[in-house]
């Protein structure tokens, strides 16, 4: 070991380096070692348990017998399952579209005002994203409460009737989506604001000289410049929204009937509450192929980043 250690201090001059040392000095080996903690983390705590979950999904309810795709076949035949698929898609797509729209609008408005005031506004508008969702959803639950709703109180002041925010299917879906938008839009805002700042001012000036209207400037200058970030943020958010658990759990627990259940909450209901762990795992797994479609897009985007760098 001693003669290995000695030349290492003048690594570029010695010819008699041991093969181990050579290996250690090779760029790709060092790189691999540097990435090793990341690889271990992902394999041990994500990939392996995910594989185990796949294994669970092939067992019968009492986890004693291998049933192959039996659980999947079983789910395909259940009307409730297809309701959940629909609801999850409705929830994720609507929420992400509105989060993106609101995020874009707000980012645009913040970008419009003099930079002195921007900091303050940005700070205020980021608040929903900063509060832990488990906490802020409780505030919403309290705002929606059937007996004490602060929203309904306002409506009563204007002589309007009460809305049962969480009691009626469509209102319940609206409320759940609304809270998700509320909590997620600021993230879009901050990402878009970052992107807006990186659009060179000259492009706008050039567009103005060409007589572009406000709308044309957004359409032909801003949006193309932000294309990448919009795509990545939207896809990242779709993944997270699709797998959402806290909001529905706290607000409606899936009700009324099962009309606001998402994959995650329904899987919890089946797996933990009703004691059918393999079926619960099967439901959860369903998110993965649907999201994989989104992942394909991310893959493309990221590999593009990689090749340009």
């Amino acid at each position: 070991m001693a003669d290995v250690a000695a030349p290492s201090s003048m690594s570029l001059s010695g010819d008699r380096r041991s093969s181990l040392h050579k290996l250690m000095q090779r760029k790709s080996t060092i790189a691999f070692l540097m990435a090793l903690p990341l690889i271990l983390l992902i394999f041990v705590l994500v990939a392996y348990p995910a594989g185990y979950a796949i294994y669970l999904s092939t067992l019968n309810k009492s986890m004693t017998k291998f049933v192959g795709f039996g659980n999947f076949e079983f789910l395909f035949k259940r009307a409730t399952f297809w309701d959940i698929v629909f609801q999850s898609c409705l929830f994720a797509i609507t929420a992400v579209i509105f989060k993106a729209l609101i995020g874009f609008m707000v980012a645009h408005f913040v970008h419009n005002i003099p930079s002195k005031g921007q900091r303050k506004w940005r700070g205020m508008l980021l608040v929903p994203w900063v509060i832990p969702p488990a906490m802020s959803t409780l505030a919403w639950l309290w705002l929606f409460d059937p007996s004490y709703s602060a929203f309904n109180w306002i409506f009563h002041q204007f002589g309007l009737g009460s809305i049962s925010w969480l009691g009626e299917t469509n209102w319940a879906r609206f409320s759940v989506i609304l809270v998700n938008i509320w909590a997620g839009a600021p993230f879009f805002m901050i990402m878009y604001l970052a992107a807006l700042k990186s659009v060179p001012e000259q492009l706008y000036e050039a567009a103005s000289i060409d007589g572009a209207t406000w709308w044309q400037r957004i359409w032909y200058v801003t949006l193309p410049m932000m294309r990448n970030i919009i795509a990545i943020t939207a896809l990242f958010s779709t993944i997270v929204t699709f797998a959402n658990f806290d909001i529905v759990r706290v607000l409606t627990a899936g009700g009324p009937l099962t009309s606001t259940h998402l994959f995650a909450t329904w899987a919890f209901k089946i797996g933990i509450e009703s004691g059918d762990i393999p079926l619960g795992a099967t439901v959860s797994l369903f998110m993965v192929p649907i999201l994989a479609v989104g992942a394909a897009f991310i893959l493309r985007d990221i590999s593009k980043r990689g090749s340009e760098s």
């Binding site: 760029k27 060092i30 992902i42 003099p114 900063v130 832990p132 409780l138 505030a139 309290w142 760098s309």
Partner: protein
């Protein structure tokens, strides 16, 4: 709500925008108008949390104007801040967050450097694969993790269930992928000549990273740190599933599980706890937001 509106109106008064066209001024007015609107939407729940936290439970139960506090009291705050449990939750959360941020940065900065600058067999796949970990939801993982914890105990005698520090092991799965992604983007934006020059001067890869890349990438690192902190402060499902004893709970779970008993919600204290729980990230954002935006700008928009 009223004072939000007033505060928002103040900057509208024209200052030195004589040169700005009418067009521009109208755009500005509309911007403020919508900003106020959105601020009301965004800030209403926290405001309501604040109002509720100042009420007595009698006032909450009385069906009076919910948007007004007639007998403001700090008893909810006093009750929570003198309760040992709550301080323990706070300490646990703080320790977990600090450790998770440290671990996340150690893993993601080195890995991002390797992936963005050094390339090895499979590095491109890994760079994309990292992001894919988000495709696997934590609701799918916690049951297998129970089983793995059982094996770890049988093999080593280390009990992972019902300990707050278990979260230091689990949370990085949620924070590292995004942090790595930000860092890859940031490192990619640093000119190639910089590290080439360093290497020619005889610096090792490690020195290149610590002496050149990390200082240059500081805004990106701060952004990634803030992100990791937010994630670990807010996580709910893992601590809910893996910890039970009052001495081992983290703040969000602690508030939800100790202040709601059976079918009785103690709204005043819940809202107080929620507000206090939201305070650390709020403070961090207030001070470091500029870095956050700057870091994201550089890290996220490249490519």
């Amino acid at each position: 709500m009223a004072n939000v509106a007033i505060a928002a109106e103040a900057p509208v008064r024209p200052k030195h925008y004589g040169s700005i066209s009418r067009d521009r001024r109208w755009a500005l007015r509309w911007s403020y108008f919508f900003l106020v609107l959105f601020a009301v939407f965004f800030l209403m729940p926290p405001l309501y949390m604040l109002l509720t936290s100042l009420k007595t439970s009698q006032e909450i139960s009385a069906a009076a104007n919910p948007w007004w506090v007639s007998n403001p009291t700090l008893e909810n705050y006093a009750a929570l801040l003198t309760k040992n449990d709550f301080l323990v939750f706070f300490r646990n959360s703080a320790l977990v967050s600090i450790c998770v941020v440290t671990v996340t940065m150690l893993i993601s900065v080195t890995a991002a450097f390797a992936l963005a600058r050094m390339k090895f067999w499979g590095s491109a796949t890994l760079a994309t694969g990292v992001f894919l970990t988000y495709l696997i939801p934590d609701t799918l993982l916690f049951i297998p993790l129970f089983k793995m914890f059982a094996w770890v105990r049988d093999a080593t005698g280390i009990e992972l269930m019902n300990h707050w520090w278990t979260m230091i092991i689990l949370y990085p799965t949620l924070s590292v992928p995004f942090a790595t992604w930000i860092m890859i983007g940031y490192f990619a934006s640093i000119p190639k000549e910089l590290d080439e020059a360093a290497l020619i001067d005889g610096a090792s890869w490690f020195q290149t990273l610590t002496k050149i890349f990390i200082p240059v990438a500081m805004p990106g690192i701060i952004a990634a740190m803030i992100f990791s902190f937010t994630v670990s402060w807010a996580q709910f499902l893992y601590p809910l599933a893996f910890t039970t004893s009052a001495s081992e709970l983290l703040l969000p779970v602690g508030i939800v599980t100790t202040l709601i008993k059976g079918d009785v919600f103690n709204w005043g204290q819940i809202m107080t706890g929620a507000l206090l729980g939201a305070a650390p990230p709020l403070i961090i954002y207030a001070f470091l937001m500029d870095y956050y935006v700057a870091g994201l700008t550089a890290g996220a928009t490249k490519g």
